[in-house]
């Protein structure tokens, strides 16, 4: 009887868990299939035309690239500084304050980031609807991910190495440059890649602060908005009545998922390499 109950419970568990493991290959396979029908060299290398029903996503790819490159530039150095500060200079109470700030940032919904960006960057700071606004918002979004990853990397630095440097009479900044820097940077890169994978797919923070649907190609100044992949898919998905536009939405979705996948793969590789380096 007890054995029967165990088998029955296991069967139920398996039945309920199955969707969690079947959905990922199903959904990704489906995106690939529908997307592959639209994606070819022309699609990747031509500007979109006729409100997305014709042409490709060349400038959307470039626009997303600009946005996340800017986000990396904004978040990377700051995350690095916060991690060092936490490890070397701050008191326990201040570490708690900084962590609270990072946790709060991590808990802000993406649309609220959009609204904040509109109020703060577009209006108060006068940056306008432009790619720097989008990069700053996305950078702020991924700051906690990057900072926490970098801090974990620093925590993994062997204590003896720091003590050896301190015993040589080096000042904190010199210890940072010679020990923390080289050892912690791979962790920062891992966290940054992970954050960028998320930032690349975000629509809500940028669709009324940094991106427009059509009428622009590559930004020529820091006042210009961009076209981007997620906002492009969003607009096409809303006009779902036109089959040609919808087909192109799937194509853009496949390109975006591939882009995100490559950033995730990069973060996996970096993590694996960082681990190897610490154990070596």
């Amino acid at each position: 009887m007890r054995r029967l109950r165990e088998s029955a419970a296991l069967a139920v568990l398996l039945a309920f868990a199955a969707p969690a493991f079947l959905l990922p290959p199903l959904l990704l396979g489906w995106i690939t299939l529908r997307g592959a029908a639209a994606v070819d060299w022309d699609f990747l290398s031509r500007a979109s035309a006729d409100f997305g029903a014709e042409g490709g996503v060349y400038y959307q790819i470039l626009g997303t690239g600009v946005l996340i490159a800017g986000a990396a530039l904004a978040a990377g150095p700051l995350a690095w500084a916060l991690a060092i500060l936490r490890r070397v200079y701050l008191s326990r109470a201040n570490i708690r304050r900084l962590d609270l700030a990072l946790y709060v940032l991590n808990g802000v919904p993406s649309i609220v980031f959009g609204l904040f960006g509109y109020l703060c960057f577009v209006h108060a700071l006068g940056l306008g609807v432009s790619w720097p606004t989008g990069s700053l918002i996305l950078g702020l979004m991924i700051l906690p991910t990057a900072a926490v990853a970098a801090a974990e990397g620093l925590d993994a630095v062997p204590r003896e190495r720091i003590e050896a440097a301190e015993a040589l009479g080096l000042l904190p900044w010199q210890v940072i440059r010679s020990v923390h820097g080289p050892a912690g940077l791979p962790a920062l890169a891992t966290g940054l890649a992970l954050g960028l994978a998320r930032a690349a797919g975000e629509t809500a923070p940028i669709f009324f602060t940094a991106a427009v649907f059509s009428g622009v190609d590559f930004p020529r100044s820091w006042r210009d908005p961009v076209v981007a992949l997620p906002t492009h898919i969003f607009t096409l998905a809303q006009e779902a009545a036109d089959p040609a536009a919808l087909a192109n939405a799937w194509g853009a979705a496949l390109v975006l998922v591939a882009l995100i996948g490559s950033f995730s793969a990069l973060s996996w590789l970096l993590r694996a390499r960082a681990r190897g380096a610490i154990h070596a």
């Binding site: 309920f16 969690a20 493991f21 649309i111 904040f116 995730s264």
Partner: protein, 297 residues
């Protein structure tokens, strides 16, 4: 001690320290600024609408009435549907991976969940529009397939990775001796799970629930594409096969057209403030719970 050092070294140390401290202040200021800007912008709406902002059922820009009740109800319904769909699946997946599958299959399970988490919100919206919307519309003979239920179901898939991954971490954190104690008593694996492992992992599983609730409430683009975007309370309250509106979809729809400084924008900022407080609260609480668990490891 500093007198042994060359002045250049001291200058570099001081410069580096003040630069890093400035960066720290910038980090703190950024988090504070998000709360500050949304709070200040929403203040006039709280002052003018008072409790009507939360209890009012009508949102009319023309008449200057801003009641968020339909959006609050929509967010609650959509989140409840998502949670009800994701909880049994996510928990089962976590239990299966942590307790029953061989350890070497764990990276594969993690990889699958991370792949699901990597699909962006807008692509989930696209998939919902392509399949779920026409299915529901034709299958149930609805006027439109864009309903509260549609949004909730897709949202359920989206929060599945968070739920499963955090719950699995909680189960993994339970000490091996707890399981061994169960086996030593002659309990089988299901009994050990129920009586020895799950009670120990309670806080971590609660954290998984809170974090995924926070994600569901804050999710915007997929919900916006699927929920129908009508400011209506479901009537009767359990009829979820009708178009509705959530806090996030309302913000997404109207933030584009409202002018900063207008009563409409103040009211939208108030919605954003509600969202911010609830979601950040859930996230903070969830992270605290999961860390308590981690510390006890």
């Amino acid at each position: 001690m500093l007198q042994w050092l060359r002045p250049a070294e001291i200058r570099a140390e001081k410069a580096a320290k003040s630069l890093l401290l400035a960066a720290g202040a910038l980090g703190l200021a950024a988090a504070a600024a998000v709360v500050f800007f949304i709070g200040v912008e929403s203040w006039p709406a709280w002052r003018e609408q008072g409790a009507g902002l939360i209890l009012g059922g009508e949102w009319s820009v023309g008449e200057g009435r801003f009641g968020a009740l339909p959006m609050l109800a929509g967010s609650a319904v959509v989140t409840a549907v998502a949670f009800a769909a994701a909880l049994p699946i996510g928990l089962s997946a976590a239990i299966l991976t942590a307790e029953f599958l061989p350890a070497r299959s764990r990276p594969l399970a993690r990889f699958l969940l991370e792949a699901l988490a990597g699909v962006p919100s807008v692509v989930y919206g696209l998939m919902g529009i392509a399949v779920l919307v026409p299915w529901l519309q034709r299958g149930l003979g609805l006027l439109t397939g864009r309903t509260l239920l549609t949004g909730g179901l897709v949202l359920g898939v989206m929060i599945l990775p968070t739920l499963a991954a955090v719950a699995e971490d909680a189960l993994r954190a339970v000490a091996r001796e707890k399981r061994e104690a169960g086996w030593a008593l002659g309990l089988n694996r299901i009994e050990t799970l129920l009586h020895c492992v799950l009670p120990e992992a309670r806080a971590g599983i609660a954290a998984a629930g809170l974090l995924s609730l926070g994600r569901a409430l804050g999710e915007t683009i997929a919900v916006m594409l699927l929920v129908g975007s009508l400011d209506r309370l479901p009537n009767p309250w359990y009829d979820w096969l009708v178009p509705g509106q959530t806090l996030t979809s309302k913000l997404g729809r109207e933030a584009v057209e409202a002018a900063v400084g207008s009563p409409q924008y103040h009211a939208l900022a108030a919605l954003a403030l509600i969202l911010l407080v609830v979601v950040a609260g859930l996230t903070l609480l969830g992270q605290r719970l999961s860390r308590v668990e981690g510390a006890a490891r």
